[in-house]
Symmetry: C2
Subunit: 505 residues, 2 copies
C-alpha cells in the first residue's frame, strides 16, 4: 500500500483512548498459522454485540518480529530471502509440486520496489470446518446429530505503517468468522426460515412466532423475513469487528501497530461472499463479462460518511480540522472571499463566504491516490490503526475509520460456470496500474493458452497479472510495455476458478 | 400520500426547538402563484450556507385556508369542486385549448378516495428567467452585458399531514432555485472552469489560482476540478435547504403544518437535473428502455443513515427508542433470550442477547409501505415537518428527516431523442400500483395511438397513467382490470417529452 499512510510510523503514539488490554488466557495456543482444525477456545455463550461488554474469542497473539510470508508458499529460507528482495522483485507462487490450494486456486505476489522494508501484503487460503456450538433448541449437541459446516476461505490483507496488522489478520480473521458461524451451523442447514429468537437456556423453547405482539401499530405487528444468506453476511461483518477489537486489545503488548485493508472470500453452501474493507478489489470475469464484487473505501468514496461524522461529533476534529470540503486549501488572505465548498449533505458545489474556521485543515482533501483523510491516510476502512494519530498531533484517526466490510453475495448455483470463469482478488498494487478490462483480457489470453483441465493455469494467470502490474526494470524504474511506470507497491493476486476441475471439491 | 404519517395531524405541537420566526418584510409581495416574472427581493449578497447566520431570501407566505390546485389547470369554481370530489375522482388535466405547458408537457391528477379532505399533491411547471446578481468580477452588471439564463422547471409535491407544505413548496421552490442560480449566471455561460474563489468586494480580483498554497502535503497542493454541472447540482441542493428553512421560519404564523415530498426537474443548458427528496419517482422511457432517474427515501432505504444518527446522537432517541433494528417487536418476556438484530453498520443479521434497552421502540420498523421511522412517518426526506412529533410524545422527528435531495443528471445532448422518449414523474399514488415496466408499456401503447406531432399525446399519456393507477369503482372499491385494488392515494403525473414537437422551445 504505497504511501497510503503519510509517515504514519513516525507519528504513532501508544497513549490514550484505548480500552485496557484484556488478560491473556494462558490456556490458548499461540496463534501462528496453525491449521484450522485447531479450534480456538470459544466462550460458552455467543458474544452479545451491543452494550453487553462480552468479549470476542480471547486469543493472544505471539509477537512476531521476523518477516513472514503466507505458509502456502512453502518458502525455504533462501526463498524467503528472494521474496524479500526489492531489487529482483521475483514473483512468488505456491510450488507446482505437492498439495495445491483448494479449487486449484492460483496465487502470485511480488514485493514492493523499496517503499517499505518488507512486503506488507499477506494472504490466506484455507478450508475451515465449523462445528456447531450447540443445538438451536438449546439441547446439548449429540455427536451423531447434525453435521458441521465447511467453508472455503481466501483472504488478502494489505498492510500499512508496518505489516503486523496484515499478518495478524491473515492468521486469525477466518477463525473469527468460524466463531461467528458456530451458532448458525444447524440453522443454515435447516431449509426453514431462521428462528428470530433463540432461547437463553438449554431446552427452553424459542419464540419465533409473532402471535403475541404488543403495540397497536401496524409497523410493529409485521415481522421481517430474514434469510440464511443475511445471517452469513452478519457473521462476516461481526467477525471483522471482533478481529479489529482483538487488535485493539493486543496492540500494546504485541506491537500490532499499523493497520490493513482486508478483502476476503467465503464460499459456503453454494454462495460466494466477498467482503471488502479497504481499497483492494474483487471482480468476477465470467464468459468475458466483468462483474464487480467490491468497491473501494477511500476519503473520496466515503467523503460524506466522514464529513457527517465530523459534523455530528465536532470534538473528533479537535479544533484542527473542518468537516467542509474545499476544492483546494483555503489561504488566510482569502478570508471574507467566497470559495466553492461541499458539506456532508451535498454532492454538488456552491460558494460560501470564507470564515476563520474554514482555514482549518480539511478533513478530506486531494484526489485519486493522493486523497487523504486528516492529511494522513488514504483508505477509510480496514482493521487496526488503533494507534494512528494525525501528523504532529495527538488527534486519533481511528474514530473515522470503519472496520465493517461491504459484503456482496454471488450465487454460484445460478449459472453454469466454465473453467475460464474466475474470481480475481488483488491488492491495490494490481489495480493502480491495471483496469478491470485489462484483467479480463489477461484472463482470456492466459487461460486460452492452457488446457481447460490443467490445474496450473490459474497460478500462471495470477503470475501474469502480477508481472503485468510490476513491469520490468528499465530506465531506472519498473516499467510497463507502454513505458509507463509499473506498480512500485506490493502486489498480491488470487485467481479463484468458479467452474471446472477442482471446483467445489 | 396515503397513511404516510400515522395520525400525525393529531400529534402536532408547535412548541420547542424552532428558530424564532423572522420579521416579515413589508415590501415583499404575497407569494401566491404569481408568474416567475415577479422576482422576489433578493438579499444583496449571496447567502453563506455554513455558520454565517445569513438568511435565505426572506419571503412571507400568505395564509391560505382554502383548497387550491395548480394554476395551470385553470379550474373554474365548478372544476375545483369536481377536482375535490372523492366519490367521482375525476381526472384533471390542463385544458386542451389555450396555452400549453412548456415542451407540450402532459399532466394529469386525481384526488384520493377519502383518506384526506383535499388532494395533498401539488404541482408546478414554469419557465424561469434568472438575471445575474452581479458580474463575477465584482463589477456592477451593465444591462447590455451578459444574458440571463432560462431554466425549465417541473415540480411534484406530495404532502402529508395537510397540504400546506406541498402548496408552499409548489409556489416557492423554483424561486429558491432561481435565487441560488443568480450568482452563477455568468459562470455557467463561460466555457472556462468555474473560479474556485470569488472576490468579496466589487472589482477586487478573485484568486482562482493555486500558486501560493500553504502546507507541505501533496494532498493539499492539488486542486479539484469543479464542473458547471456540479454547481447547478449544488444550487438545487441548497435551494431545497433554503425552502425547508423558510418553512421552519413561517410555520407558526402561517400554519405551514405537515410536510411534503419534492420531486423536481430542472432543464438548464442542455442538461436535465432530477432532484428527489421523498418517495415520488422519475423514470425516463427512451426507445422502450427504462432509465431510473431517482430513488425513494424511506425508513427501509435510509435505515443505516437513521440508525447511525441515533447511535451518534442518542439524545435524539429520547430514551424512548433503540437505534437497533429487530425483525419484529421484542417482547418483555424475551429478556435474556437471543434475537436477530442489525445495527447501523450491518446489512446482515446476527443474534444478540436481549437487554432491557432493546425493549424500547425500534427507530425503524416495518416493511414496504408499512415501514415507519419512530413509528410515525414512512418517508425520510422532504420539506417541512418541523412540528412533527412522535405519537403521544414531544420527541421531535425532524432531526432524522433530511431536506436534501438526490440529484441525477441526464445530458439531453448525448442522444438523439424521438417524440416517444419521455421523462415520467409520478407521486407514490402512481408507483404503488404501477411498475416501471407497466409505465413503459403504457407509454408505448398511448403514444403510438397519436401522431408524433400531436402535442396532446403527452396529456393523454398522463391521463392514461393516472386512470390506470386509480382504476374504476367496482365491488366497493377502486379496482384495476386484474381486480386488485387501485391506488386510493392522490395520484399526480407529469409526462415530459424529451424530443419532438415543443421540446426545447
Amino acid at each position: 500500500m504505497l504511501n497510503r499512510v503519510r509517515s504514519a510510523v513516525a507519528h504513532l503514539v501508544s497513549s490514550g483512548g484505548a480500552p485496557p488490554p484484556r488478560p491473556k488466557s494462558p490456556d490458548l495456543p499461540n496463534s501462528t498459522s496453525a491449521p484450522p482444525a485447531d479450534p480456538p477456545q470459544a466462550p460458552r455463550s455467543p458474544p452479545a454485540r451491543a452494550g453487553s461488554g462480552s468479549a470476542a474469542p480471547a486469543r493472544t497473539v505471539e509477537s512476531r518480529a521476523s518477516f513472514c510470508r503466507p505458509t502456502f508458499l512453502q518458502l525455504s529460507p533462501g526463498g524467503l530471502r528472494r521474496a524479500d528482495d526489492h531489487a529482483g522483485r521475483a514473483v512468488q507462487s505456491p510450488p507446482d509440486t505437492g498439495r495445491r490450494l483448494p479449487w486449484s486456486t492460483g496465487y502470485a505476489e511480488v514485493i514492493n520496489s523499496g517503499k517499505s522494508r518488507h512486503n506488507e501484503d499477506q494472504a490466506c487460503c484455507e478450508v475451515v470446518y465449523v462445528e456447531g456450538r450447540r443445538s438451536v433448541s438449546g439441547a446439548p449437541r449429540e455427536p451423531s446429530r447434525g453435521q458441521g459446516l465447511c467453508f472455503y476461505y481466501w483472504g488478502l490483507f494489505d498492510g500499512h505503517a508496518g505489516g503486523r496488522a496484515a499478518e495478524m489478520a491473515s492468521r486469525l480473521l477466518h477463525r473469527h468468522i468460524r466463531e461467528q458461524l458456530k451458532d448458525l451451523v444447524e440453522i443454515l442447514q435447516d431449509p426453514s426460515p431462521p428462528p428470530l429468537c433463540l432461547p437463553s437456556t438449554p431446552g427452553a423453547p424459542g419464540s419465533s412466532d409473532s402471535s403475541h405482539l404488543v403495540g397497536p401499530q401496524s409497523c410493529w405487528s409485521s415481522q421481517k423475513e430474514v434469510t440464511h444468506e443475511s445471517l452469513v453476511v452478519g457473521a462476516i461483518e461481526n467477525a471483522f469487528q471482533f478481529m479489529d477489537e482483538q487488535m485493539a486489545r493486543e496492540r500494546h503488548g504485541h506491537q500490532v501497530e499499523g493497520g490493513c485493508c482486508a478483502l476476503v472470500v467465503v464460499y459456503l453452501l453454494g454462495k460466494v461472499y466477498v467482503a471488502n474493507a479497504g481499497d483492494s478489489r474483487a471482480i468476477i470475469v465470467r464468459n468475458g463479462e466483468i462483474i464487480p464484487m467490491s468497491r473501494e473505501f477511500t476519503p473520496e468514496t466515503e467523503r460524506q460518511r466522514l464529513q457527517m461524522l465530523g459534523f455530528l461529533k465536532p470534538e473528533l476534529l479537535g479544533g484542527e480540522f473542518t468537516h467542509l470540503e474545499f476544492p483546494r486549501r483555503v489561504q488566510p488572505k482569502e478570508l471574507g472571499q467566497r470559495m466553492l465548498y461541499r458539506d456532508q449533505n451535498m454532492t454538488g458545489w456552491a460558494y460560501k463566504k470564507i470564515e476563520l474556521e474554514d482555514l482549518r485543515f480539511p478533513l478530506v482533501c486531494g484526489e485519486g491516490k493522493k486523497a487523504r483523510m486528516m492529511a494522513t491516510i488514504g483508505v477509510t476502512r480496514g482493521l487496526g490503526d488503533h494507534n494512528l494519530r494525525v501528523c504532529s498531533s495527538t488527534l486519533p484517526i481511528k474514530p473515522f475509520l470503519s472496520s465493517f466490510p461491504e459484503v456482496r453475495v454471488y450465487d454460484l448455483t445460478q449459472y453454469e460456470h466454465c473453467p475460464d470463469d474466475v474470481l480475481v482478488l488483488g491488492t491495490d498494487g494490481l489495480w493502480d496500474v491495471t483496469s478491470d478490462c485489462e484483467v479480463a483480457a489477461t484472463v482470456d489470453r492466459v487461460l486460452s493458452a492452457y488446457e481447460p483441465n490443467d490445474p496450473s493455469r490459474y497460478t500462471a494467470l495470477a503470475q501474469a497479472l502480477v508481472l503485468g502490474a510490476r513491469g520490468t526494470p528499465r530506465d531506472r524504474g519498473w516499467r510497463l510495455p507502454n513505458n509507463k511506470l509499473g506498480s512500485g507497491d506490493d502486489i498480491s493476486v488470487f485467481v479463484i476458478p468458479l467452474g471446472g476441475p477442482g471446483s467445489y471439491s
